[in-house]
């Protein structure tokens, strides 16, 4: 299962984003931000209380089942009048949900979260970023571990000089991707693929913004 991983913005930033807008409607999400405890019912209630204490008028709150779903606008329609009274919708989903709601409702939306990465849950409650959807997958030559994502520098020819005791130079809590890849390929008896020089990557496998249409039958 993959989830959109978020972290709430600092309150002073949220206050700045809401500057001049006094009436706020708050929307949480019942999927990823509920799971990560950044935008579920409890956090929406806490945000409502916090903003009230800062002098905002909260015209209403709700937690939609899946904020990024195309049906979100229909679900929100029952709150129409209370949302219309608001100067802004403060959305406590990931950025996919914020954009969905902004597009569907045509109201000013403000994100309460920073969306960090698409996380894969590897152990209960532990999420890691393991793919950045680069468009030119290299993991066929790395034992199935993505160095574009798992290496801080996205190196494809082996570790940098900053790796230390199997950890990354930026954070001793993060594994060095190339130590993991070396160990995996060593176990598989396939270090030959690590020894092969990799040419500079194509950084525009799918030029941003990505777009895809299901082919017609």
């Amino acid at each position: 299962m993959i989830r959109s991983i978020t972290r709430q913005k600092p309150m002073n930033e949220i206050e700045h984003l809401l500057d001049g807008m006094d009436r706020i409607f708050i929307i949480g999400c019942g999927t990823c931000t509920t799971m990560t405890r950044t935008g579920g019912a409890e956090q929406v209630a806490a945000m409502s209380e916090d903003l009230s204490s800062r002098g905002k008028v909260i015209t209403g709150t709700t937690v939609v089942p899946v904020a990024c779903d195309n049906l979100t606008a229909d679900i929100l329609s029952e709150y129409g009048s209370r949302m219309n009274q608001a100067d802004a919708l403060l959305v406590m989903s990931c950025a996919y949900g914020v954009q969905t709601i902004g597009t569907q409702l045509g109201q000013m939306v403000v994100p309460a979260q920073n969306t960090l990465f698409i996380g894969k849950e590897n152990a209960a409650g532990q999420f890691n970023e393991s793919c950045t959807q680069c468009g030119t997958c290299v993991i066929g030559e790395t034992g199935g571990i993505c160095p574009v994502t798992a290496c801080h520098k996205g190196l494809v020819n082996g570790p940098c000089g900053g790796t230390n005791n199997g950890k990354c130079e930026i954070d001793s809590n993060k594994d060095c991707a190339w130590t993991l890849i070396y160990n995996r390929l060593n176990e598989l008896g396939r270090l030959d693929v690590m020894r092969t020089y990799k040419k500079p990557r194509n950084h525009l496998g799918e030029p941003s913004p990505g777009k895809f249409n299901i082919p017609a039958d």
Partner: protein, 295 residues
């Protein structure tokens, strides 16, 4: 036409290089002073490229200053701040101005430096930059287009002989040689027995190896490096020796230790030369060379 540094490497002599660090700002007096002090003593001077990701005067500008003041520059070039267009452009600029040695590095993370929110580029890695230099020496750019006037470089790279684990580093080391590295500067080495074991392995490759020598200025610095610098291990007896130095005598002791290590490397013909890094104390490099019996 090979660079003066390349000629020194090929001559079979014991090669000595050092470093000059570009300034934070446009006052280049200190750098010029170091160049003046070292240019006739060492075979070449590395000019660091925003070392530790701290924004400084550019290595290309520093290398020009070395050149203009009669020294032999080695242009350090990291992949942290420039994509492949900018790297190739700077290589052409350097070559056109007589800077004909380049040290190809991946570069530290921007998070280690003083502009922590900057975008780390890493379009290429060190082995790919080496390959790009080789391609350009052949009169083509990385896209396969002809260059009107090619580049001339003696290209090098680095290795960390004390890395843990060592095996992934050695695979990268071999790729760097395969990609065209003609010389290798090592991360600081202090344990000569370990370094000799590394050299037994490295001797099989057609590449010149310069042992990295970092000047110790205190026992605390040695302990700090052991704790914080990847792949640097100062053995306890050396730390004890530094700690036992009389008050105010630590720098002198550090110079003595450097000199002793360099003399041993030369005496026992362990590798092809040394790269002296007297971080922030470049003015004592002649003292180190003197202590080593090189001048």
């Amino acid at each position: 036409m090979p660079s003066a540094f390349k000629k020194a490497l090929d001559s079979g002599k014991f090669v000595v290089t050092s470093e000059v660090a570009p300034s934070k700002g446009t006052n280049l007096e200190k750098m010029a002073h170091h160049v003046e002090l070292l240019k006739d003593k060492v075979d070449a001077m590395n000019v660091t490229d925003h070392q530790s990701s701290v924004m400084r005067f550019p290595s290309l500008g520093g290398a020009l200053l070395v050149k203009e003041n009669g020294g032999e520059p080695i242009l350090q070039m990291t992949c942290r701040d420039r994509n492949r267009l900018a790297l190739q452009a700077d290589l052409m600029m350097a070559s056109s101005r007589g800077i004909n040695n380049v040290l190809c590095l991946t570069g530290d993370s921007v998070m280690l430096g003083d502009h922590k929110a900057a975008k780390g580029v890493f379009d290429l890695d060190s082995s790919q930059l080496l390959a790009a230099v080789r391609t350009m020496k052949g009169g083509k750019d990385m896209a396969g287009n002809d260059l009107d006037g090619d580049v001339n470089f003696c290209a090098g790279a680095i290795v960390t002989p004390e890395a843990n684990p060592i095996e992934p580093q050695l695979i990268k080391f071999e790729k760097k040689i395969e990609s065209g590295a003609e010389f290798i500067q090592t991360q600081a080495v202090y344990d000569m027995d370990n370094f000799k074991r590394f050299m037994e392995y490295a001797r099989q490759f057609d590449v010149k190896i310069l042992a990295g020598i970092i000047l110790l200025t205190s026992a605390g610095m040695a302990r700090f490096m052991n704790k914080n610098v990847a792949g640097v291990m100062v053995p306890q007896p050396l730390i004890d020796e530094m700690a036992a130095a009389p008050k105010g005598g630590a720098l002198k002791k550090g110079i003595e230790i450097c000199g002793r290590m360099i003399a041993q490397i030369k005496e026992e013909n362990i590798c092809d030369g040394v790269h002296i890094m007297a971080i922030g104390k470049e003015e004592v490099v002649p003292d180190i060379m003197n202590a080593a019996g090189l001048i």
